[in-house]
């Protein structure tokens, strides 16, 4: 058993729902109790979908157990067919149905339904949401792809690619797809099929006609891409185009596979991020300490952008999906950051607190953690909440994605100019301690007004050593702008403790400042 408060991933059948809901004409028959229907609201509320997910829950109850749960399942299958007339049906069990062992696969096979049926085996007690999505997509591709349809003669047409991995409830998938499709078209490459998002059974059937695959979301698309490589010999592009550098690498990799010239696109497609980051106002971004956590792919991509393109210092890098632990560890090594592979949000919270960062890039969990600590935060990965499905166009991939990233990551930080003014006018009434951090938005009261914010101005030491602050030092501490005061206080106390100083004098404060100067 594992003690869990908030989870990063749902059960694997929710992953299957993300695939089914993304597609057209596919229905998912899920053997499950009534409460499992909660999953619908993820799609209708968080993603604001105007349609119910195409899922029928068999809704068995305690009194059905041991007698007619399998009959219930078959009745539901027949009703689903009559009512929704899907082109293909997915069938599977949720965690409870897995235990009663009704064997949905066998039951459905006996019924001899007139449409393709894809039984899903998603072990609920071992696997999680992303894996469930990947496995479901793979099974769909395996079953529905037409093995006779192959790429046509290359000489007569432009190169053709499949875009694999986008699902319902994905972080910015809608806009990433639009951005990357546009980029590829400009390079002279056509899209054969984008899947699962927006695809139908007929689209899946013609996957084999593409020259190659592009795996935009490895977490959900990798298994299918491996299969397509085996079955159709289609190579896969696996560079994820997040950030300027990665997008350029992506263009080169695609160009090589598609045999087109990358140079025009590389020349034309410069993102504004490059200049924005070089412009003088961005100087203050240098060395900002950032903590990154998310799904493995987005976390690794974010680390590269943060480090190479914004000049941040990546101090922590982690993911919640163990399947990508290797990639995350390797990247952490690259940036000399502490890797963290865990799905325990309390461990992440602890790591963020210890890392003393100025910016957190994470999921909605990290947003909450950051909010409690009063640290700026931007979201880079699922799981996400309703405001991470913006009305406006906001991809994270491609060159426009890089622009979006610059805005979204830099805005939570105090602007360079603003920081400069704050230092000049720190005793001015508008910049006093209770004015609150404007960059955190109107919802964020000044520290002290929010019960979760700690009052950093008190003389009580943050750690449990005996250190006390002299009046002088404490007065000086109060002059430090509030948004860095907490860190100054902690640093000074740590420094004092290390030096065996029991009373922090004015000098200690400045010695500590010198000690920690970067």
């Amino acid at each position: 058993m594992q003690l869990s408060v908030w989870t990063y991933e749902g059960p694997p059948h929710v992953g299957a729902m993300r695939v089914a809901t993304a597609m057209e004409g596919i229905h998912y028959l899920l053997h499950s109790p009534q409460g499992d229907t909660y999953a619908d609201l993820l799609f209708t509320m968080i993603e604001r979908r105007g349609k119910r997910p195409p899922v029928t829950y068999t809704t068995f109850q305690a009194r059905d157990l041991g007698k007619d749960t399998s009959q219930l399942f078959q009745t539901a299958a027949r009703d689903t067919l009559d009512r929704f007339a899907p082109d293909a049906m997915l069938v599977g069990a949720s965690c409870t149905a897995e235990l009663i062992q009704d064997d949905p696969a066998g039951l459905i096979e006996n019924m001899g339904l007139p449409i393709p049926v894809i039984p899903l085996e998603l072990p609920s007690y071992q696997r999680k949401e992303h894996w469930g999505a990947a496995e479901t997509f793979y099974q769909i591709v395996r079953k529905l792809s037409d093995k006779d349809r192959r790429a046509s003669d290359k000489a007569a047409r432009r190169p053709l690619a499949n875009l694999l991995g986008p699902t319902a409830l994905g972080f910015r998938h809608r806009d990433d797809i639009a951005e990357i499709t546009g980029l590829l078209n400009k390079m002279g490459i056509d899209i054969n099929v984008t899947a699962p998002l927006g695809s139908s059974a007929a689209d899946i059937a013609r996957l084999g006609e593409a020259d190659f695959n592009i795996v935009l979301y490895p977490e959900t698309g990798d298994l299918a891409a491996d299969y397509l490589k085996r079955e159709f010999g289609q190579p896969a592009v696996r560079t994820v185009p997040i950030g300027v550098g990665a997008t350029q690498d992506f263009i080169r990799e695609v160009a090589k596979i598609a045999d087109v010239d990358p140079v025009p696109m590389l020349k034309e497609g410069l993102s504004r991020l490059s200049w924005w980051s070089r412009s003088i106002d961005s100087n203050y971004l240098t060395g900002k300490r950032v903590f990154i956590f998310g799904d493995g792919t987005h976390a690794v991509a974010a680390a590269r952008v943060a480090s190479e393109e914004l000049g941040f210092k990546v101090v922590g890098l982690g993911c919640y999906n163990r399947e990508y632990a290797r990639e995350v560890r390797a990247a952490a090594k690259l940036y000399d950051a502490e890797p963290l592979i865990t799905d325990d949000h309390l461990a992440v919270e602890k790591a963020i607190e210890d890392a003393q960062v100025e910016l957190v890039l994470g999921t909605q969990m990290e947003r909450h953690i950051a909010k409690r600590f009063g640290i700026g935060c931007a979201v880079i990965s699922s799981p996400v909440h309703v405001q991470d499905f913006p009305a406006r166009y906001s991809p994270h991939m491609g060159f426009e994605g890089a622009n979006v990233i610059f805005d979204e990551w830099v805005h939570p930080l105090v602007m360079g100019l603003e920081e400069h003014l704050l230092t000049m006018f720190r005793d001015d009434f508008e910049f006093n301690d209770h004015a609150g951090a404007s960059h955190l938005g109107p919802g964020h009261a000044a520290p002290g007004q929010e019960d979760t914010a700690k009052d950093e101005t008190t003389a009580a030491p943050a750690n449990d050593t005996e250190t006390v602050w002299s009046d002088d030092a404490q007065r000086e501490l109060k002059k430090i702008p509030f948004f860095v005061r907490g860190k100054a206080k902690r640093n000074t106390e740590t420094f004092a403790a290390e030096q065996g100083v029991s009373t922090i004098e004015l000098a200690t404060l400045y010695e500590a400042k010198a000690h920690y100067a970067r």
Partner: protein, 427 residues
Amino acid sequence: MNAQLPIAASNGSDCAPVLKERGQREVFCGLTGIIWLHRKMQDAFFLVVGSRTCAHLLQSAAGVMIFAEPRFATAIMEERDLAGLADANEELDRIVDQLLARRPEIKSLFLVGSCPSEVIKLDLAKAAQRLGAKHAPEVRILNYSGSGIETTFTEGEDACLASLVPEMPALTDDDVANLIIVGSLPDIVEDQFMRLFAELGIGNVASLPERAVSDLPGIGPNTRFLLAQPFLGDTAQALKERGAQRLDALFPFGVEGTTAWLQAAATEYGIDETHFAETLRPYQARAEKAMAHQRARLAGKSIFFMPDSQLEIPLARFLSRELGMVLTEVGTPYLHRSHMDRELALLPADVQISEGQDVDLQLDRVRSAQPDLTVCGLGLANPLESEGLSTKWAIELVFSPIHGFDQAGDLAELFARPLRRRDVLRV
């Protein structure tokens, strides 16, 4: 699914025949109650023994994760627990130890059963006994089931409160009479009711649950209780078995319901009728005033209740009698006949009541009725809105203060808001 319906139950005495349906449901399971119960009982922790699905449900239903470390969690069962590699009981003990060490302020711990724990027949009652002995007297360990195979949404609260009944201190014949308000109410509403009882001259009133599990009221032959919520069948039964008597009344929604509910207590305790009427008059007037402008907006509008919380019938009574709404269909997940008698008698004779659900068939009825307002779960609201139907999220009725005189206007407003919004928007 279709095969089983419709079965018309004949009980023409109190209302039209009830349409009983059995098919796919679109409702939460009883675990969801933890979201409001843990806010109410401030010394209690709720540990669900279940699967990743259960944990995900709690987090999704909670919607807003503002609590740093909430007083609930899930012990997620894993492959090794099921394969018998790890004794599930030993694992549970380990988790509970870990939890109590981390959260020393916890005074009561509810072990909450789920579908998976029930299907594998993990005996949480025994576990609670075993762990209770180990952690007494610091922590009291209780258990109930919020599983989706046995409980629908608010029935989780019923199961939780029923599990508290055996813990209530016993009172005897010689003890002074007490009155218990049963059902978890927002503190502000509970306080209003307590002030009203005091003004009426009814003393010795307690609540189940109290704000701390450690303050459970006593129970004995002189105990009377009023149900504040319509979904507490098992709790009422358990209280009766310990000698308490239920005061039958309408549920305290709107002026009529709240008056009748208080009247039941006043009659029981022989409160002077004039005093009763005079005490209530200003409250009633205030409530009427608050409801007045919503009435203009709601009167004559039709409303369709999808089954959700068992609050549907009393709320339908309130909306039809005090605000003039037209009831298209009133669905309830479960119809507790004896608790609902008085409510049903006040509904229009021809109203369609349905019990249970087959969501697709019910949506067909919604579409053909085209009601002005549909009360439904979060999974259905946006899809119906996108078809041009206005909706009210049922869950808001469970989370918001809606009982009593001073909330009658707010309650009406909850239904009026979607209609007003529809009128305002020009996009």
